[in-house]
Symmetry: C2
Subunit: 86 residues, 2 copies
C-alpha cells in the first residue's frame, strides 16, 4: 500500500511520533510523511503510534493501493528531496 | 476531483493561506485541508496561493479522481467534524 500520514500531536510527543514515522516512511513536509508500506508494517506503525499518543493527538493515514492513485502538485518549494537524501 | 492539501508556510502568510483554503476546502487538521473541487476552482485556488506565497513556503496538493480513491484511518482524535460544523 502507499501511505500519506499527517499528524498534529502535543509537543511532548512530537519527537517520538516523528522518530517512529521516520523508521517506516519518508518525510516530505512539516508534519507530513509518505511512502510505500507492507500491510504488516502498517499495522505495526499504527500500533506504535497508538501507544505513544494514548488516544490524545490526531494522526491521519490516507491509504492508497499505489503511488499512481494520485497526482502530486507542489506550489512553492519541494522540501522533501534534500531531507530524504540524508 | 478530490484534494488533500498540506502546507508549511511562514507565519506571516499563514492566515492568508488558511483563509484562502477555507473558501474552497474543509479543514481537517492543523495545516491540512481536504475536499471535492471542480477543475476551474482548483486552478483558481492554486493561482491565489501562488500569489500569496510568491515561490516561498511549500504547499502540496494530492489530487485524486474521487474520495473513494483512498481509505482514511485516524489514530487518536478526529478534529475535523466540529470545525466543519462552524
Amino acid at each position: 500500500m502507499y501511505l500519506i500520514v499527517v499528524y498534529d500531536v502535543d509537543v511532548s510527543r512530537v519527537n517520538s511520533v516523528r522518530k517512529t514515522l521516520r523508521q517506516f516512511l519518508n518525510w516530505i513536509q512539516n508534519s507530513v510523511f509518505e511512502g510505500e508500506l507492507a500491510e504488516s508494517d502498517f499495522l505495526e506503525l499504527k500500533d506504535r503510534l497508538k501507544k505513544i499518543t494514548k488516544g490524545e493527538d490526531s494522526i491521519i493515514f490516507f491509504k492508497f493501493k499505489a503511488k499512481y492513485s494520485f497526482e502530486k502538485i507542489i506550489v512553492g518549494k519541494d522540501k522533501s528531496p534534500v531531507d530524504n537524501l540524508i
